[in-house]
Amino acid sequence: MNKFFAAFIKEVLLLIRDRAGIISLFVMPVILVFVMTVIEDSALNSTVDKQISMLFCNSENDSLGIAIKKGLNETKAFTIFEEVDGKKLDKQSLEHFVAEGKFPVGVYIPEGATDTLRSNARKVVLKTFSEIGLTSETNNAYNFDSVVIQIYYDPAVRNSLKALVDGAIGQHSAVIVGKMLSGMYSEVLSDFLPGGKKLNVNYPEMITVNRQYASEPDNSIIPNSTQHNVPSWTLFAMFFILIPLASSIIQEKDGGTYMRLVTMPSTYTTTFIGKITVYFIVCLLQVTILFSMGAYLIPYAGIPGLQLGSHFDALLLVVFTASYAAVAFGVLMGAFCTSYQQAASIGVILIIVLASMGGLWMPVYLMPKTFQHILVYSPLNWPLTSFYDLFLRDAGVKEVLPNVFKLFLFGTGCFIVAFSYKALKKIK
């Protein structure tokens, strides 16, 4: 044990004295996580939950316009502007601002729209009653005037946004039409009631939409910037230890220290375990620092903080196995590379490729479908998916076990290959 601690302390001292290593392991990831979370926040929000600026001109100021505006506000998808630069919008200015690209969308409710709608509703009711012989109105009374709600789009606007606006307006218009029709039926039917009684039909809410996240793994859930960037860049930093770790192994191998270590009565394994223990602890520290930053510091930038979920045991399991895999990968690189320069250049390229393959650079749902199939082969995707499961779906140990198992196998595979290669070289 004394020998292990000696090796451990030696490795800690070597790491502390390596300023560039400390910067790359701790300082750079902190900056990277913060900057990437803030930068990607706006990009992700544009596809997730960022409010879209919308011009709105209600020239009639009656029920239809008010109801549509209220409905649009309730979606929380839009920020509605009824005036620009202190000037109230009219049809012309609204179209002008959208055409200039200052706003992606503008909605114009024409004058008298509600009256027209009301008139149309009355005609529908009277026509119905006439057809069943309750009234004696003539067919001439049933000419309908269509109400045109004008929506102006910036040509650069995506189809998904158009569908969202069209859907929201269509939905709230339909609600108004429904209410007007029921009101009109009540009004006309009241004429047939004895003693001047008034019929008042109030529709109950017939359909309730209940939104909740599926507890079963569901890849359609989209993380926000913090939920994506904090675990992603934390994993990137964890696997980045392969460069200092591999370099440390190579420097020991190249310098005379390896010869001294293997000719000492203690086994080289003791020194080696001391070394990898330090880097394992580095990984745990990285997670602690970066996740704490995500939870407590990121909110100061006006971005939602990282929620770690409620299954701390599952979180620890993922962090431990991801650290194990990262350290093992570093050892593998240390076994194969013959110089620091080689480890640094190959290491950087490997991490970047695996990170992009693993969905660290860009959330999975933004990747091409064909590429999404490759994700499962990146060891960086396994812990990332598990973090998503833990943070977004409140998954537990059972749900993360398959990825934990993959990480463990990957790490063990790396160690086996590294030691076999080393043993083979020794025989040579």
Binding site: K3, A6, L13, L14, G255, M259, L261
Partner: protein, 250 residues
């Protein structure tokens, strides 16, 4: 094995994989207790390979080495406790201080804190390094590094010290101090096996020498025996050149 023999090399050969020519070719050698034995030869002669086999770094292809009666093939771990290695490369961590390096090495040899502290003081005092104990190795001169490298191999007070070019690349003062210290060590009963290119140094230091070339021992004896046995030779260096030739070696 003679009771006085502390290192016995028997028919030792080593051929690296992919090489046809052996680096060490059937050598046999006895080194007696309390000797300073010089293993000398040009570059590529097989000295470092021989030393590496003695330390247990490589397994021999043929033959065996007995150190204090223990086979390096069968008793590698026990042999490691008997010998102290001072490698040709500076086997120290540059970003650690001299003290931190020595503490690490001492602990790896299983020394207790108190003993380790005493030995660090003892050896560094002799080599004039006490003032520099708290300085990092990467701030040291070549001579200082060599001296700490030497101390590191002696902390566990081995019976046999194996030195591979211990004075290479150091100034005359440092070399003189190292040589003096090796003599002192030998006076206290330590057997020393030493390789060097400095034949003048070997001539004054070693009680016996062997010349190696092309993996073979070409001659052995005391420096005086070798000089007197070589007509026209005044120094060990002249004997060496006569035996190994003047052609440059890789």
């Amino acid at each position: 094995m003679n009771e006085n023999t502390v290192i016995e090399i028997i028919n030792l050969s080593k051929t690296y994989k992919g090489n046809h020519k052996p680096s060490v070719d059937h050598i046999s050698l006895n080194i007696s207790r309390g000797e300073i034995f010089g293993l000398l030869g040009p570059n590529g002669a097989g000295k470092t390979t021989t030393i590496s086999i003695l330390c247990g770094l490589f397994a021999p292809s043929k033959g065996d080495v007995y150190i204090d009666g223990l086979s390096v093939r069968k008793n590698k771990e026990q042999v490691k406790n008997i010998i102290g290695i001072i490698p040709q490369d500076i086997a120290l961590y540059p970003s650690l201080t001299a003290k931190e390096n020595l503490q690490f090495i001492g602990r790896m040899y299983g020394l207790k804190s108190k003993v380790l502290k005493e030995r660090i003081l003892k050896y560094t005092e002799f080599l004039g390094m006490q003032e520099s104990l708290r300085k990092k190795i990467n701030t040291f001169s070549g001579g200082m590094k060599r001296r700490i490298n030497l101390v590191a191999g002696l902390l566990h007070e081995p019976k046999i010290v194996i030195l591979d070019e211990p004075t290479v690349g150091v100034d005359v003062q440092s070399r003189n101090q190292i040589v003096q210290y090796l003599r002192e060590l030998n006076r206290n009963g330590t057997t020393i096996l030493y390789t060097s290119h400095y034949l003048q140094e070997a001539e004054s230091l070693c009680s016996k020498v062997a010349f190696m070339d092309n993996g073979k021992i070409i001659i052995r004896g005391t420096p005086q025996q070798l000089i007197s046995g070589c007509p026209g030779c005044q120094t060990l260096e002249e004997v060496f050149l006569k035996l190994t030739g003047i052609d440059l070696r890789d």
